[in-house]
Point group: C2
Chain length 427, copies 2
């Protein structure tokens, strides 16, 4: 099929009529499908059910150092969980705190602590006139929600396949002392699925921020979430790179098992320098006596070690790979060559990012919704829900059954075509 | 035996010599006993081991409303957990949020939120020159640690058997707009084991604070933690009383199952008015997608209902009641009639409170430590660790095995006698 932009007005009008007919047919199906959130599907949850048998009433619930996991104690986690998640994060167990069930909560608390108490003796952010964060775009809406909630000004930084625009990042952090942080999803990024290049990590570790309390919030949410065993992205480990660069305190690194075992019933962790850890624990000891050690033990007993976790991730990949491929296949078939949108083909993570013609994203999502397919709100991938080009849409293929997903993607592609044709006809 | 104060100097000197001999003998035993923290003992943890079998890989992990507890969702908890903990707290499930494993964390977050965002539209506390909390004394050190961490000025309010001095509370909150909160452990209080009288709750619910964003932080940590089935304290339910008084938003109420099932692996909850809940959820949705629903389900499946929980608490009581009675028996035998100390005899909770002669508490705790018995630091029951009379000591009888506990209490009583005699001899 020809590019829409090269069709005559009459050809495009005729095309549009056919598309509208097809849309009506979709509407008559009364669909109710959800491609909006990065949720594992039932089959993915089922592969972790063995974890429910990892502990029972006949098992000794003491951890390696002899602590009874049932009782109070061990503010920063049980030793064997630090080893397992250390291997997962590629960090020394000594640099890790194991938290509760939500790495989002850990990130929120990290910002909240900086607001009320500052970082390593620096002025609490709430006492400053202005605090700013760099936000690679498109990015993760829940990151932006945290910084927005705390009144932190968000500065969008464009993403490429190699990561954020490093010229811009270096310039901004060097010039502006009000820039205190930067959100990063460095591997299989949300929503594009890009992984930061070696050069990007190299340059990030060597940033020279004007603010001594500038920190990179490194949300390595998809560190081991590959789709292909033989086509993995590798990411330079940032804490080690920071240490080599003489910048050991620059990064807070976050991860969790939410998309490895059970979302909401996993364990989260933070890895950072010993200086940062000390600073954090000064606060943490006032906040809690400790996190859920029984659940930490449950995870360790289930996986045994990082190899067990790696094998487990292959099962996830086997379930969701066909879903990613189905979306890509349909987008290619329906939209390929029309020049009305582009999309990413990630090797891991939870999302596909779609860029429509300028000014079309909101209308596409709205049309899909009216025919029963829920997408992530257009704009959600930008700070303040403000995508200036109104073009980015996040596709989350994991949750729906594959037949639903195919149908939803067909409808989505149809909406892209209709909205694009209408736009081109209006000129 | 005669009161120490009525002995002649010679009699007291002779007594002291005998005591010092006994102390030396204790030292030669190389004891290592811990009466410092309110921790359940191993036998108490064992009675909850059935909870480890409540879920397994063959069980459907959906909750009543059909939500798959393994996946994301349900920010405020699963319905059946709200019912169970609603019954535990004597509140409507609609007024409850179920959190993670730590009510201390919920209290911390509640203060932190007020600091950065204020309560129901009022000025964030971090923007005010001065924020103060009323602190009934003696009280819980971890409460005081939170308010101290946030730079909140703490005003001690004396406790009696009926609760805090309400004349003082009413006067202070009416006069001073900087007073934004008050810590309360209203039932089997920490450390005295007192329960607030009906009149106290009645008057608290009718407070007329100058600050519209004043809140009572009602930590009902020991609501169902009775020692005696037939001698229970009953506490007027504060949220209902506040509603009746036309003060529905006055109280945040906290509780958890930490000392019902496993400390650190229980579930925590907050109950409050719908207005307060709405205010809280505006923040909470930025902090997390939800707490550990699988653990909520595990608790509900284990207890089934509040009757199950009540029966469970009798098992706890059977284990720890003899420990409380042993301490009381030894204190009575060793110190009764000497007029050198007084102690509480609670009907529930986790502590016995001991008041030594003025200026003796630190020295008593220090002596006990030197002979291998760890007590809670003297002063810990007061804000800033500053007990102006240096007299209050918290005794935590639950954790040590009963024979250890007897030995530790004997030593403690001996230290009380020595330090008191020395004080009286000095005049």
């Amino acid at each position: 099929m020809a590019k829409y932009a090269e069709m005559t007005k009459e050809e495009l009008q005729k095309e549009l009529e056919g598309l509208r007919e097809a849309y009506k047919e979709f509407q008559s199906l009364n669909l109710s499908l959800d491609m909006s959130r990065g949720k594992p599907c039932r089959e993915q949850l089922d592969i972790s059910m063995g974890m429910m048998d990892a502990l029972n009433s006949h098992v000794d619930l003491s951890c390696e150092d002899g602590t009874d996991c049932r009782n109070y104690g061990l503010l920063d986690g049980i030793p064997e969980a630090k080893v397992l998640l250390g291997d997962m994060m590629e960090n020394n167990p000594a640099n890790i705190i194991i938290y509760g069930n939500s790495s989002l909560n850990v990130m929120y608390d990290t910002v909240a602590r900086a607001m009320t108490h500052g970082i390593m003796g620096h002025t609490p952010w709430c006492k400053l006139d202005k605090v700013k964060f760099l936000c690679p775009v498109p990015g993760y809406d829940r990151h932006f929600a945290i910084t927005e909630y705390f009144g932190i000004e968000m500065i969008p930084v464009p993403m490429s396949e190699d990561g954020p625009d490093m010229d811009m990042v270096e310039k901004l952090v060097a010039e502006d002392e009000a820039i205190k942080g930067m959100w990063c999803v460095p591997k299989y990024s949300n929503p594009q699925g890009y992984s930061y290049s070696d050069e990007t990590v190299h340059r990030l570790a060597r940033l020279e921020p004007a603010a001594p309390d500038f920190r990179i919030f490194w949300d390595n949410a998809y560190g081991i979430h590959h789709l292909y065993e033989d086509k993995q992205d590798y990411l330079v480990e940032i804490l080690a790179e920071c240490k080599r660069a003489g910048n050991p305190d620059l990064v807070y690194k976050f991860a969790s098992t939410s998309k490895i075992t059970f979302p909401g019933s996993g364990i989260a962790c933070l890895a950072t320098s010993l200086n940062n850890l000390e600073d954090i624990k000064k606060q943490l000891k006032n906040q809690t006596i400790g996190h859920d050690k029984v659940n930490q033990l449950r995870h360790v007993r289930f996986f045994k070690d990082i190899h067990g976790m790696t094998e487990h991730m292959k099962k996830h990949a086997d379930i969701i790979r066909p879903k990613f491929e189905a979306v890509e296949e349909i987008l290619d078939k329906e939209l390929g060559g029309l020049d009305i949108g582009s999309w990413t083909m990630p090797r891991g993570g939870y999302f596909i990012s779609f860029d429509a013609l300028e000014g079309c994203a909101k209308e596409i999502v709205s049309m899909a919704k009216k025919a029963g397919v829920k997408m992530t709100d257009a704009g959600a991938t930008w700070p303040y829900h403000n995508d200036p080009k109104d073009s980015n849409i996040r596709i989350a293929p994991t949750f729906p059954p594959i037949e639903d997903l195919r149908q939803a993607t067909q409808l989505f592609a149809l909406c892209v075509k209709i909205v694009s044709a209408e736009k081109l006809l209006k000129g």
